[in-house]
Amino acid sequence: MRILTLAAICGMLATPAAFADTTLDLVGPISDYKLYVSDKTDDLVGATEEFVAAVKGGDVEKAKELFAPTRQHYEAIEPIAELFSDLDVSIDSRADDYEQAEADPAFPGFHRIEYGLWEQNSTEGLEPVADKLLADVKELQGRIEGLTFPPEVVVGGAAALMDEVAATKISGEEDRYSHTDLWDFRANFDGARKIVELVRPLVTDEAFLTKVDGNFATIDTTLDKYKEGDGYVTYDKLTEDDRVALSAAVNALAEDLSTLRAQLGLG
């Protein structure tokens, strides 16, 4: 009896009432994040319509021009791509994921079109790929609308994306034919930062925030050097020093942001 009582008290201490109160404080940030994603997805559908029209119209130059800005709307919501992994594959997978790489008839989406536009300098054969891409982003729009966002995926999404940038994207693998990676990076950082900004009022560790802000600032400064017009120069223009600076900042962000879930009681 005594042991049971003690266990009950320990149990109560493990989940103090104060925690129960703050748990639902995430409702504001998560709902605002959904509104953000919903806006971005609407923008993605609009931009993809134009992009697809250029591809289907055989206008290689226009399609090349629209490729990177169109993708940015998708890259901004990539922190939660885990919620629609099938569409992520059909919209944004790379040739490596297919047995016969670029020659594989199953290779779909943005990167298949990118390959055609830059490597083959042609829109030939891209029509069905373009139609499928548009159908996929519309399907995504509908799905986002009906999807309840799991808070742990949203909060964990910032770290997951930074991890991916640090581990692979930083090599320039994503936009390997067009080298428009810096556009993607900009959108990835904006998308991850949006999550941090929304949960900021709930984070009590000031040192953590200072460090995260510092690394985002380093990224901003580095990317800003490569601005050109409304976008960025090609990824091969990035100096070795800047690549290292970017890499260090992204790695630090991946590491720091991976603690965010636990900080917000979503461990």
Binding site: A20, T23, L24, L26, V27, G28, I30, S31, K34, L35, S38, E78, A81, E82, L83, F84, S85, D86, L87, D88, V89, I91, D92, S93, R94, D96, D97, Y98, E99, A101, T148, F149, P150, P151, E152, A160, D163, E164, A166, A167, T168, K169, I170, S171, G172, E173, E174, R176, H179, Y235, D236, E240, R243, V244, S247, N251, E255, G265, L266
Partner: protein, 389 residues
């Protein structure tokens, strides 16, 4: 797109960059891999080896909770390992270098999941998560964090409806200011839709509903009462008097109140138990109204009840996945009641439109009232099913 196979990207990287960078990238990949691999491997971790074509074992069974998986990359490509629930990635570990181990400790609820095994084209394995005493307890009384998602969705819903209310009440004001009677009537009907869809939370904004939606029947001097303002006062002017005259200041106040409401919703915190309780209470209010003496100038009551039903369904069904898990019969009860109520309303439609309230037979009023009563009762069973007060 998650990186599924970075090692075969050598050519792309080479084409892009100097060889020195390969060293940096390689070191980085190794560092990342060891960072994960460096986590302590607990006793009793579930071992999974991913080979070139399959997972070994390909089928796993674990108890619910937070098990630790020890994933060994036995293939010759860098890979990622994912646990999938349908199209949703429940947990993943990226960039596992050939020959290395990594661990993953996801929170898993009972159910059947898939696991990825290397290339996208490789067959997936299965992961069966079995119930435990603890998971059974959480099933009938979900943790508070389980309500963050549903409550966020509801906040999104209210936010959108309140934006629509702002737009439609502004349009109503514009039509009235322009003296456009038919346009104003149409705008009024349009504005009633988002307003009615938010009906479950009206009790939370009593001061605003008092100005925006009072009924003449409850005021001392009825239509002549100075407190008769808002929607129904405008409705009275447009339909009973057939004029926009004198309505402009009323429409202005209504639009301003809609703005205030929108702001209020941003600040409003809805508690988990309110989702079903508010829906039940609303359905009950509608059922009561249908029995009572009912004055309607526009006669558009059925369209509003349909919007009420949408609002109630949205609110209560947000916790339906939790209720379904806890007690499928309770979930079926509300879903069936909602389907019946919708069918009862739709059955009255003449073409695309609802008939006017005045033309509705007493028996039909009764039928709709009964249908809403059943929705109220079925929604009232939701909170007890998941341990909410």
């Amino acid at each position: 797109m998650a990186d599924r196979n970075p090692m075969s990207r050598g050519t792309a990287i080479l084409a892009l960059s100097a060889a020195t960078f390969l060293v940096v990238a390689g070191g980085l990949a190794l560092w990342l891999a060891t960072r994960h691999a460096g986590e302590p491997v607990t006793e009793g971790a579930i071992r999974v080896t991913v080979n070139d074509r399959t997972c070994d074992p390909a089928d796993l069974t674990v108890p619910a909770g937070q098990p630790t998986f020890l994933i060994h990359n036995g293939s010759n490509r860098t890979l990622e390992w994912e646990i999938l629930d349908g199209v949703m990635v429940v947990a993943e570990r990226e960039n596992i270098v050939p020959g290395l181990d990594t661990t993953l400790s996801p929170r898993l609820k009972p159910g059947t999941y898939e696991i990825t095994c290397g290339l996208l084209t490789n067959p997936r394995g299965t992961l069966t998560v079995t119930a435990t005493a603890e998971s059974e307890a959480a099933r009938v009384k979900p943790e508070l964090r389980e309500f963050i998602g549903p409550l966020s969705e509801y906040r999104v819903y209210l936010s959108r409806r309140s934006s629509e209310l702002v737009e439609t009440t502004e349009a109503l004001h514009d039509r009235i200011a322009a003296g456009d009677l038919e346009g104003a009537k149409e705008a009024w009907l349009a504005a009633r839709q988002p307003w009615s869809q938010m009906a479950p939370i009206w009790p939370r904004i009593g001061d605003l509903t008092q100005r925006m939606d009072p009924l003449a029947a409850y005021l001392e001097q009825r239509e002549e009462d100075p407190a008769f303002t808002g929607f129904h006062r405008i409705e009275y002017g447009l339909w009973e008097k057939g004029s926009t005259e004198g309505l402009q200041p009323l429409a202005q106040t209504l639009a301003t109140d809609a703005e205030t409401l929108k702001q209020r919703i941003r600040e409003m915190q809805v508690a988990p138990e309110e989702l079903a309780a508010n829906a039940s209470a609303l359905a009950g209010r509608v059922a009561d109204q249908l029995q009572g003496d009912h004055v309607s100038y526009a006669g558009a009551d059925l369209a509003e009840y349909a919007a009420d039903l949408d609002g109630a369904a949205k609110s209560a069904l947000l916790i339906d996945p939790l209720v379904k898990d806890a007690d499928a019969k309770v979930s079926e009860g509300l879903n069936a009641a909602l389907t019946d109520a919708r069918a009862a309303l739709d059955g009255l439609k003449q073409g695309e439109a609802f008939p006017s309230w005045a033309d509705l037979a007493e028996a039909d009023r009764q039928k709709i009232g009964d249908a809403f009563r059943k929705v109220a009762d079925a929604a009232a069973a939701y909170n007890p099913a998941i341990g909410l007060e």
